[in-house]
Amino acid sequence: MSERSKFFKKLRKEKYTILCPDMLPTHFDILIAVLNKEGYNIKIVSPKGREAKDEGLRAIHNDACYPALIVAGQFIAELKSGQYDLDHTAVIMSQTGGGCRASNYISLFRKAFHELFPTVPVLSINFSGLEKDASLPFNVPLALKAVTAVQYGDMIFNLELQTRPYETYPGQVEEIKKDLAAKLKAQIGKPSFMKLKKNLLMIRDAFSAISLPQKRKPRVAIVGEIYVKYSPYANNNLTEFLEKQNCEVVYPSLSEFVLYCIYNMMEDYRRYGMKWLTAKVAGMLYKHFLKQTRVMNSLIKEGGYFPYEDFEYVVKQGERIINTGVKMGEGWLIPAEMLAYSQNGVHNIVCAQPFGCLPNHIVGKGMVRPLKEIDPSINIVPLDFDASSTQVNQENRLKLMLANLK
C-alpha cells in the first residue's frame, strides 16, 4: 500500500475531522456527503463576521491574494475555536494547478500552520498530479459520483437563483433546497444516485412550486475568480444584495469551470504536445461531462427556465475575444462568459475579482474595452474584493451598474 493510501486510510480510521472552506454551499453539501460516504468526516466551515478575515491578514502575507487569505483565516479561526481535537483534525482545499499563484495556497497554508497548528495536515483535492502525498485519492467510481453530485448542485443552484426572487413566501426556496438535499443524500451509495435524469427531474419538479411571472426582473450575471464570485462570505453577500435591489442573479455553473480545466489539458497537448495520456483521459472525461451538462440544460429549458450557457458556445464566444491559450486562473473563460451572457440577453455583469489578481489584469479589466467594442450593450462593473475593502465602496459601484441596467 502506498504512503498516500496508508495516510488517507488513517484519516478515515481515526475519524479525522477534515475542514473544508465554504464556497458553493449548495454544491459542497452534496459533494461532501459523497466523500463522507467513503468514510471521511469532512465538515464545511461557514465563517461569519470579521474574525476569519483578521486571522487571515495575520497569518498570510497581505499581498497574497484575498481567497488565500480568507480561506486560511477561516481555517485558523475555526481551529482556534477549541471545538476540535487538533491531533485528529485536518484541512482540505482544492488546487487547480497552473501558472496562477493560487496553486501556491497549500504551501502558504503549510507555512502558516507550521507554527500555529503543527499537527494539522493540509490536504489537497486536485487532478493535476500536485501534492502527490497529500491529495485525496480518487478512483473512477468516486470521480463519477463526484461529477454527478456537481450536476445536482448546478441544477439546484440554477433553479434557486431563478425562483428565489419570486417566492410565494420568504424562505420557500430554502425549504425546497433542504428537502432536495436530504433526498439526494439518502441516495448516496445506492444505484439510484447515479440516475442523472431522474434526479434532475425531481429537482425541477420541486422548484415548480414557485411560478415565475410573465415579466421577470432584470438579470445580472456574476462572473470572475471562482472563489470570490461564489463564496457569499468572500463577496459580502453579493447575491443577496443584488436580489434586494430587485434583480435576478445569474451564475455560471461549476461544471463549466470543471470543463474549462479539462479543456485546457487538451489544449496543452494540442498546442505544446504536453502529456499525451492526460489529454486522452481528459478528452474522454470532457465528452462524458459535456453530455451530462447538456442533459441538465435541456431539462432546465423544457421547464421554462433559462439554462446555463452551453460550454462549446462559451468557447466560441471566447475565441472571438481572446486566445484560448490564456489559461492561468480563470483565463479566457471570464471574457468568454461575459460575451456569451451579453449575446444571450444578460447584459449586466459583475466581474468579481480579488484585488490585484494577476490573470484578471488580462482577462477581467483588460477585456472590458474589447468586449464593449464587440457588444456595445454590455454593462460591466469590475469589482475588487479584499479583506479591507468595504461594502460602501462596492455597493456604490454596483449602484452605478444598476443605474444603467439593460
Partner: protein
C-alpha cells in the same frame, strides 16, 4: 386657492460634506448650500433640512439622496437614492446639454461620464488616490492651506513628474523632490498635474476626452491650478472647458432632478422624522478599550516616565557639547548633548521642505542661548537630508538612520532585542541579535500607517492630531478598521461612520490600525515571542499614548518608550558624534551670520534619463547637486562600471545582428517583459527571415506617459504597464507589425517543479493588442508557443506568419538560429557574472546580488539602483548569473515559475558566500512576489543572513532606496567587525 407647487429636493451626502439643492417645477434653484459634516452625517443632514424649512418652507417635496454616505442613510430612512454618477448625468442632461464629457472629482472618488458617441459612466477603482483627499494630504505634507497651494501653483515655473497612481506613491515622489530643495510653487503645480494625469489615464482608459468637457466637484470648483492642469493636459480651449457655477452642489441638483421622477411626495417634517428615526445599528466590530479608567491611564503614564532622559541647562553648562541632527523626510530633529549625555537642547519641527534654513535658524538660536563656554566639539547628521546637511553646514559625520536609531535605543535598553520606530513617513523595525542589527524591516511604498496618516485623518475630521488621539483614549468600543493603506482606510472609516461609530471610537480604532499595520504588514510577525523580551518603541508616533497603549495591548507585553521617542535619530547621531570625537569643522557662529545659498534647476544632459537636477550653491563656493541618479550629474565622470553586471546585460542584450539590406518587412519588438531576456532570440529570428527589426529603447517616464492612456488595469505592475509605451513607440516607427510571444511556459531550466511565466509576462501581448485601438490581429502578432517544444513552436510561428509568405522551412531555420543566439546570450551573462565575482574578490569588494527578473535591468524599472550601487563602491551581480552555481534548492513553496526559481537558487547561493549580500527587487503589484519574498527571506535568514527587499513602482525615490542599501552595508560591516573581535 392655487394648488401648492411641489418642489424637488436633492441631498448629496459625500465623504466629507452634505449638499442640498431645492428646485422648483421650472428647474430654478431655490436653495443650494453645502456643509462639512465631520463624520456627523445624520446631524448635519438635519441641520441642512432645518435651514431649508426656514428659507424655503415645509414643502411638499419630491426627495432623493445621492453620494457615498447618502447610500446608507437613505436606505435606513427609506428614502429614494440615486447613484452619484447617475445624478451627475441627469443634471448635465438638463443643465448642459452641449457637454460631450464630464469629469467629477470628489473627496475620495473620481468619475468620468462620456455623453456623446456612446454614453459611458466610470468610477475609479478601489485603489486610486488622485482625488480631493489626496490633494488635502499633499497640502498637509507641504504644510500649507489649500488656497495657498492653489495660489502657489499659479506662480509655478516648472512641473516635476510625480507618480499619479496612488496617493501614497505620489507622496514619496513629492517628499524626494522636497528634500532636493525644489520650490513649493513647482511642487504644487506638479501635484495638480499628477491628479489630472491620474484621472485621465485611470478613468478614460484609452477613450479620448474631447469636445466640451464639464468639470465638476469641489476640488475642481475651488482650485484654479487644478483647473489649469486639466485644461492643459486635455488641450482644451477656454470655450471647451466648462467650469459651471455651483459645481460643488451639482450632484445634489442631479438628485433633485431624479427626485422629480419619484411618486412619493413628503413634507419636510416627514423627511426629517424618517432621518431622525435612523439609528446606528451597523455591524461594527469593536475591540477592547485602550484604558478602562483614569487610574489605568495614570499608571500607564507613570510606568513610562521611568525612561525620561536627564536634561541640563544650556545657559549654565560649560564644556564640550555634541550635536546630533536627524534630517527626516518631513521633520528636522536636533539634540545637543553634554559630556555626561544630558540633553542640553532639543528641537523638533516640520522642515516644510526647507531643511537648511531650519537648521541654520536652530544653530543661531543655540549659540544665542548657550553659555559662551560651551563648545560644540563634534557633530553628526542622519536621515534623508544627510548629504545635503553635511555639504552645506560642514557637519562632521554622517551615519545611516538605522545605526543612529540602534545607538539611541541601546542607550535606554542596552540589551534591546527589538526596535520599532514609527515616524511621520516611515516605519523601521530592527531585530537585534548579539549586539548587532540582525534584520531590518522597513515599510513598503504602499503601507502608510505612519504618523502622517493619523495626522491626515485628524485634519480631515477637523482635529489636530494630538487632541484627536486623546479623545480615543477612553472610547468604550474602538472600531476595528483593519490594517491597509490609506485609501482603504478612508473607506473603512466611511463605513464605520455609516454604521454609526463615534469619533472617539474611530480615533481609538485608527491608533490601533497603525500598530496592526506595523506588526502584521511591515514586521509580518507570526508570534509575539519573535519580538523578544526587550522592545524599544520610538519615533514621534509613539509619543502618542493611544498608539503606544494599542501596541502594548496587541502584543500583550510592556515596552520601553523613551521620553525623547521622537528625537531618537538625532540623539543617536549625537551619541555617535561623541564616540567619534575629533576636531569639528561645523559651521561656526560667525560663518552662520553670513550664510546664504541659492537654488537653481537644470536638466542633466549626461544620459537619456535627463534627471531633473537641483543645484544648491553655498557661500564657500561649495555646490550640492541632487535629483541625479548617477554621479554624472555632479559633473564627475561616471566610473567605468566593469563590476556591474546589470550594465553589462543592458549592453550585451542590444548586441544584435545587422539589419538585412533589403528587408521584407519592418518588425517592431517591444523591449518589454519577456523580451528583456528573449530579445536575441526574436531579433535573430526575424533578421534571418529577412526582416528589419526595430527595438524600442529602454524605458523612460516619458515613454510611459505616452502609453499610459491605454492601460486598462491600474494595479498591474509597472514593467507591464510600460509595455503600452513601447507599443506606442513602435507604432510611430512605421512597422509592418509588432511581435510579442505569448508563453504560458518559460524555458525549463530544471530548477523547480514546473517552469511557468507569471500570467502578466505570459499574456500581456493579448491585452495590448485589445486595448490600443491602433493594434489588431494583423499588425500585432503574439503566437502562443512553448520554447521547450520547438516543433510546436515552429508550427505556431508558421501559422501566424504564413500569410506573409514565409515557408515552414525558413521559419524553422530562423527559429533555430534565434535559439542559438538566445543560448549564447544566457551563457555570456553567466560567464561575465563569474568574471565580475572574481574581479570583485580580487579587489576585496562586497558583492551585491541584485535579484529580480530580467526586466529589472531596465533603468526606468529599477530607477537606477545599480548605478546607485556603483557609487557605493560595490560589485553588482544579477540573479540569473549565480542561480546555477549550486544544485536546485528544495523550496517550501511551490516552485513553478522559471524566473522565481532563479531567485530561490540565487538566495541559497548567496547565503553560502560570506562576501555576497542579496538585494531583492520586487515590483509593486507583483502577485507572485507575495510568495517569493517570504521564501527568499526564509532562505537567507535561516543561514543568519540579512534580507533586504526593495519594492519599486513608478515612484522614483532613490533617497529611501539609498538608506536601505546603506543600512544593509552598514549592518554587514558592523557584523563583520564584531565577528573579528
Amino acid at each position: 386657492m392655487q394648488k401648492k407647487e411641489t418642489l424637488s429636493l436633492g441631498i448629496d451626502v459625500g465623504s466629507t460634506t452634505v449638499k442640498a439643492v431645492v428646485l422648483n417645477a421650472d428647474g430654478e434653484v431655490l436653495y443650494a448650500n453645502y456643509l462639512r459634516h465631520g463624520s456627523k452625517v445624520k446631524e448635519t443632514a438635519l441641520i441642512e433640512l432645518n435651514e431649508i424649512k426656514e428659507k424655503v418652507g415645509m414643502g411638499p417635496y419630491h426627495v432623493s439622496f445621492t453620494g457615498s454616505a447618502g447610500l446608507g442613510l437613505s436606505e435606513r430612512a427609506h428614502l429614494p437614492f440615486v447613484q452619484e454618477v447617475e445624478s451627475a448625468f441627469l443634471a448635465i442632461r438638463k443643465l448642459f446639454p452641449e457637454a460631450d464629457a464630464a469629469i467629477e472629482l470628489g473627496g475620495e472618488d473620481a468619475k468620468i461620464i462620456f455623453l456623446t458617441g456612446g454614453v459611458e459612466e466610470r468610477m475609479n477603482g478601489s485603489c486610486a488616490g488622485g482625488t480631493g483627499a489626496f490633494i488635502d494630504q499633499m497640502a498637509t505634507l507641504l504644510n500649507i492651506s489649500l488656497p495657498e497651494m492653489d495660489a502657489m501653483a499659479l506662480r509655478a515655473e516648472k512641473a516635476y513628474p510625480i507618480a499619479s497612481r496612488c496617493g501614497v506613491f505620489a507622496k514619496s515622489d513629492v517628499q524626494a523632490i522636497l528634500n532636493q530643495g525644489a520650490k513649493k510653487e513647482d511642487i504644487a503645480l506638479s501635484i495638480f498635474y499628477a491628479v489630472a494625469d491620474q484621472t485621465i489615464a485611470g478613468l478614460a482608459q484609452g477613450r479620448e476626452i474631447k469636445g466640451n468637457v464639464l468639470f465638476l466637484g469641489g476640488p475642481l470648483f475651488f482650485l484654479k491650478g487644478l483647473r489649469l492642469a486639466f485644461k492643459n493636459r486635455l488641450k482644451l480651449s477656454d470655450e471647451q472647458a466648462i467650469f459651471p457655477q455651483g459645481a460643488d452642489t451639482f450632484m445634489a441638483k442631479g438628485a433633485a432632478v431624479y427626485a422629480l421622477k419619484q411618486e412619493e411626495v413628503l413634507s419636510l417634517n416627514e423627511i426629517m422624522e424618517r432621518i431622525n428615526a435612523v439609528s446606528s445599528v451597523g455591524d461594527i466590530i469593536v475591540g477592547e478599550p485602550l484604558f478602562e479608567n483614569q487610574a489605568d491611564y495614570d499608571a500607564f503614564l507613570k510606568r513610562h516616565k521611568d525612561f525620561d532622559v536627564a536634561t541640563r541647562d544650556i545657559a549654565t553648562y560649560e564644556g564640550k557639547a555634541y550635536l546630533g541632527i536627524d534630517e527626516g523626510s518631513t521633520t528636522t530633529k536636533i539634540v545637543l548633548l553634554s559630556e555626561n549625555n544630558e540633553v542640553l537642547y532639543s528641537h523638533y519641527e516640520p522642515n516644510n521642505g526647507l531643511p537648511i534654513d531650519k537648521i541654520v535658524a536652530q544653530l543661531k538660536h543655540i549659540y544665542s542661548i548657550a553659555n559662551p563656554k560651551m563648545k560644540i566639539v563634534s557633530s553628526a547628521v542622519t536621515g534623508y537630508g544627510e548629504e545635503l546637511i553635511m555639504a552645506s553646514l560642514h557637519v562632521d559625520y554622517g551615519l545611516v538612520e538605522t545605526m543612529a536609531h540602534f545607538k539611541a535605543a541601546s542607550f535606554f535598553e542596552p540589551k534591546v532585542d527589538f526596535i520599532l520606530d514609527i515616524g511621520g513617513q516611515d516605519i523601521k523595525c530592527f531585530r537585534i541579535k548579539n549586539g548587532a542589527i540582525d534584520s531590518i524591516m522597513l515599510n513598503e511604498a504602499c503601507s502608510s500607517g505612519c504618523g502622517s496618516f493619523l495626522q491626515a485623518f485628524a485634519q480631515a475630521l477637523g482635529y489636530d492630531v494630538e487632541s484627536f488621539s486623546k479623545i480615543g483614549l477612553f472610547a468604550k468600543r474602538p472600531v476595528e478598521l483593519g490594517s491597509r493603506c490609506t485609501v482603504f482606510m478612508n473607506s473603512s472609516v466611511k463605513q464605520a461612520q455609516r454604521d454609526g461609530a463615534s469619533i472617539e471610537e474611530i480615533s481609538a480604532g485608527l491608533s490601533r490600525s497603525v500598530v496592526k499595520n506595523a506588526l502584521y504588514k511591515v514586521i509580518r510577525v507570526h508570534s509575539f515571542e519573535e519580538l523578544g523580551e526587550r522592545i524599544v518603541c520610538q519615533g514621534g508616533t509613539f509619543l502618542n499614548n493611544a498608539v503606544l497603549r494599542s501596541f502594548e495591548q496587541e502584543i500583550g507585553h510592556e515596552v520601553t518608550r523613551p521620553s525623547i521617542a521622537g528625537l531618537m535619530g538625532a540623539f543617536g547621531a549625537a551619541l555617535y558624534a561623541k564616540e567619534r570625537g575629533g576636531v569639528s569643522k561645523l559651521i561656526t557662529k560667525e560663518e552662520l551670520d553670513h550664510f546664504s545659498y541659492t537654488t537653481k534647476h537644470a536638466l542633466c544632459q549626461g544620459c537619456t534619463s535627463h534627471c531633473n537636477l537641483t543645484i544648491l550653491s553655498f557661500p564657500d563656493k561649495g555646490v550640492f547637486i541632487s535629483g541625479n541618479k548617477c554621479e554624472k550629474g555632479e559633473g564627475k565622470k561616471a566610473k567605468p562600471n566593469t563590476l556591474d553586471l546589470y550594465a553589462y546585460k543592458r549592453k550585451r542584450l542590444l548586441q544584435l545582428e545587422e539589419n538585412p539590406k533589403e528587408p521584407k518587412f519592418r518588425v517592431g519588438l517591444p523591449l518589454s517583459l519577456a523580451l528583456y531576456e528573449q530579445l536575441p532570440l526574436w531579433d535573430t529570428f526575424f533578421k534571418r527571415l529577412g526582416c528589419e527589426t526595430v527595438v524600442s529603447p529602454f524605458s523612460t517616464r516619458k515613454l510611459y506617459r505616452h502609453g499610459q492612456k491605454t492601460i486598462p488595469s491600474d494595479t498591474a505592475c509597472y514593467p507591464a504597464k510600460l509595455m503600452h509605451g513601447h507599443a506606442d513607440y513602435l507604432l510611430n516607427e512605421n512597422c509592418d507589425f509588432l511581435f510579442y510571444p505569448s508563453e504560458s511556459y518559460n524555458v525549463d531550466e530544471k530548477r523547480g517543479s514546473n517552469h511557468f511565466n507569471c500570467p502578466v509576462v505570459a499574456y500581456y501581448g493579448e491585452l495590448i493588442k485589445k486595448n490600443d485601438s491602433r493594434l489588431n490581429e494583423k499588425n500585432f502578432i503574439d503566437p502562443f508557443l512553448d520554447l521547450n517544444a520547438p516543433k510546436h513552436a515552429i508550427d505556431s510561428l508558421y501559422e501566424s506568419l504564413k500569410e506573409r509568405g514565409f515557408s515552414k522551412k525558413e521559419i524553422k531555420t530562423a527559429f533555430e538560429a534565434g535559439v542559438a543566439a538566445f543560448s549564447a546570450y544566457r551563457q555570456d551573462v553567466k560567464e561575465q557574472g563569474k568574471r565580475v565575482i572574481e574581479e570583485a574578490r580580487k579587489q576585496g569588494k562586497t558583492i551585491i546580488v541584485v535579484a529580480g527578473r530580467p526586466y529589472h535591468i531596465d533603468p526606468e524599472v529599477n530607477h537606477g539602483i545599480d548605478k546607485l550601487l556603483d557609487s557605493l563602491d560595490v560589485a553588482v551581480v544579477s540573479e540569473d548569473a549565480i542561480a546555477f552555481m549550486d544544485a536546485p534548492l528544495k523550496t517550501q513553496v511551490l516552485n513553478q515559475w522559471t524566473y522565481h526559481a532563479r531567485l530561490f537558487d540565487a538566495a541559497h547561493y548567496v547565503a553560502s558566500q560570506p562576501d555576497m549580500e542579496m538585494l531583492h527587487l520586487v515590483s509593486f503589484g507583483c502577485g507572485v512576489d507575495a510568495i517569493t519574498t517570504d521564501e527568499v527571506r526564509r532562505i537567507l535568514e535561516e543561514k543568519g543572513r540579512l534580507y533586504t527587499m526593495i519594492k519599486i513602482d513608478e515612484i522614483n525615490n532613490l533617497g529611501a532606496v539609498r538608506i536601505r542599501i546603506r543600512s544593509l552595508i552598514a549592518a554587514v560591516e558592523e557584523k563583520r567587525r564584531r565577528a573579528k573581535q
